[in-house]
């Protein structure tokens, strides 16, 4: 028997595999196909204060080993998420979920986190700081240590649940941003969000995405994600949730060796609806292959 249980801020997960926000809806889409209670947890679609349709279509473009999306945080807004989506989620998923919160101002983050903090279904609040800061020139909160720390502090002041800051990889120095969040009170770090990418349609000579650019993810970005998880693990003491291109049980082990306590799976869910199920079922075999009996033994193992 192998042990796949890991613990994030006091919450024990049966396994480290967590579908990433925006690629698993509110869970019930997948619950039609398999019992999603086998998951460690899942991070639901990014939630904002107001309902959002998101960006114009086309919002999807294919790349080698991945895709670009510019969904633009389509969601029904925090009130409806709480009144309609959470009850539906509760029917199909009986473990603590991760609430992914986005915002375009510090106030918006605070507003949403305060609301979601009251929901006992929510185990962890994952604060996505990749969105543009409308009050400060549109650069994302996640691109400066100060802005990321500011969001962290503000959110921590209104929540009692563990707060994980989800970082953008489109930065010069990811470690300093993670460190700033830790110092501001973050309970953990989630990374990476999508790399900014772009494709051009040769037939039209126009950007393939209506919004010009979008977020690039999928197996192509895995080496960047592993590198950043490794760097952040060196920089902070709080737990790291690693993601970016994970699509196999081997990838889960590699992320954990880099320093992740748990691992999220994003784009892989879209093209392989049973990706998380397959990964979880394959984990014990792959652990045995590499002589691992307890996943906790390998967290950060590549730093030794």
């Amino acid at each position: 028997m192998v042990n796949t249980k890991v613990t994030l801020s006091g919450i024990t997960l049966d396994n480290p595999v967590i579908p990433a926000s925006g690629t698993f809806g509110y869970g019930y889409e997948f619950a039609e196909y398999y019992d999603i209670n086998m998951l460690g947890s899942f991070s639901f679609k990014g939630t904002t204060r107001e309902p959002r349709f998101g960006n114009p279509t086309p919002r999807i473009a294919e790349c080698t080993g991945g895709l670009i999306n510019s969904v633009g945080l389509q969601n029904p807004g925090i009130e409806k998420v709480i009144s309609e989506e959470l009850p539906k989620m509760r029917e199909v998923f009986h473990k603590p979920v991760i609430a992914n919160i986005s915002g375009f101002s510090v106030d918006e983050y605070v507003y949403c986190c305060e609301k979601i903090n009251k929901e006992d279904q929510v185990g962890i609040i994952e604060v996505n700081v990749s969105c543009p800061n409308v009050h400060h020139g549109g650069m994302s909160f996640g691109t400066s240590p100060e802005a990321a720390a500011e969001v962290t502090r503000a959110v921590k002041a209104v929540t009692s649940k563990p707060v994980y800051i989800k970082l953008s990889p489109n930065v010069t120095d990811i470690a300093s941003i993670a460190k700033a969040c830790e110092e501001a009170g973050a309970d953990g770090i989630s990374l990476i969000n999508t790399l900014m990418g772009m494709r051009i349609d040769l037939k039209t000579a126009k950007p393939a995405i209506a919004n010009t650019m979008g977020g690039f993810s999928g197996s192509a970005i895995f080496p960047v994600a592993v590198r950043m998880v490794y760097q952040v693990y060196e920089a902070v003491k709080i737990p790291v949730i690693g993601m970016g291109g994970v699509s196999s049980a081997e990838d889960v082990l590699e992320m954990m060796l880099a320093g992740a306590t748990a691992v999220q799976v994003g784009a892989a869910n879209l093209v392989e609806p049973f990706a998380c199920k397959n990964i979880i079922e394959d984990l014990p075999r792959v652990m045995k292959k590499y002589g691992i009996t307890d996943l906790n033994d390998i967290i950060g193992g590549a730093h030794k």
Binding site: F24, E29, P58, I60, N69, V71, Q74, L270, P273
Partner: protein
């Protein structure tokens, strides 16, 4: 939605760019005309969505046009190759609203779903009129297949090399005794049909898809009834709800 392996039984060209592929496998997830499937191809990250043209207990027929990398690879596949496919995707057409004499209008690669739809309507005792639009005779396909269903088939080509010269809308405008319409084809055609039809109807849309089964919000559109995902709440929308 179901994920399973299908084996190619036939893969033949209908025109210089349009192919018919017959796939054998588990078809239980397919519930009606107008649904689509989503095919995984080696080396390409996203699956390729294609309408179901016809199906029975163990085969599905698709018609596809070669327009890019994926369809090009498909056109070179030999029988007996197996493919990982998601089936049972999309809402499909609702035949209960058709009335007695529905119009079925297919333009270009919007033709395929009309085939099974025509069959279903005939089975329900209705008398569909099928209108097929192509650019030119050489690009026309499936005209005989529709004719052998025993329905009235009207063909329009932009250059007049087959059937009436002009667009499907010209034909629709000349008809009056239809009870409803169903269509699939390029968006400008859908828009024109929405404008020139005198009845309600259902229109099937295309959008770039991340997943094809409702998970990513990649394919959303705004309708009068709220935001919808083309892949899950569509691809078929009702004329009344569409915001052009």
């Amino acid at each position: 939605m179901k994920q399973s392996l299908f084996t190619i039984r036939k893969n033949e060209s209908l025109t210089s760019t349009v192919f018919r592929m017959v796939l054998e496998g588990e078809t239980s997830a397919v519930t009606g005309a107008g649904q689509f499937l989503n095919i995984k191809l080696d080396g390409l990250f996203l699956r390729r969505p294609l309408s179901i043209c016809d199906y029975d207990e163990n085969t599905i027929t698709i018609l596809y046009k070669v327009v890019g990398k994926g369809t090009e690879v498909m056109s070179e596949m030999a029988p007996s190759v197996s493919l990982d496919i998601l089936t049972g995707l999309g809402n499909g057409y609702d035949t209960t609203k058709s009335g007695d004499r529905p119009l079925l209008i297919g333009g270009g690669v919007g033709v395929p779903p009309m085939y099974r739809l025509a069959k279903n309507l005939i089975n329900e005792g209705k008398k569909p009129i099928v209108i097929l639009g192509f650019n030119t005779k050489d690009e026309a396909f499936y005209v005989e297949e529709f004719e052998s269903l025993g329905v009235e088939v009207i063909v329009a080509t932009a250059d007049g090399t087959l059937g009436t010269k002009g667009f499907v809308t010209d034909i629709v405008k000349s008809l009056s005794n239809y009870t409803y319409f169903y269509t699939c084809g390029p968006e400008p055609m859908l828009k024109a049909l929405s404008d020139c039809t005198t009845t309600s109807g259902q229109l099937s849309f295309e959008e770039r898809m991340g997943c094809g089964f409702g998970a990513c919000m990649g394919c959303s559109c705004e309708t009068k009834y709220g935001n919808k995902r083309i892949c899950k709440d569509g691809p078929v929308l009702e004329k009344e709800e569409i915001i052009w």
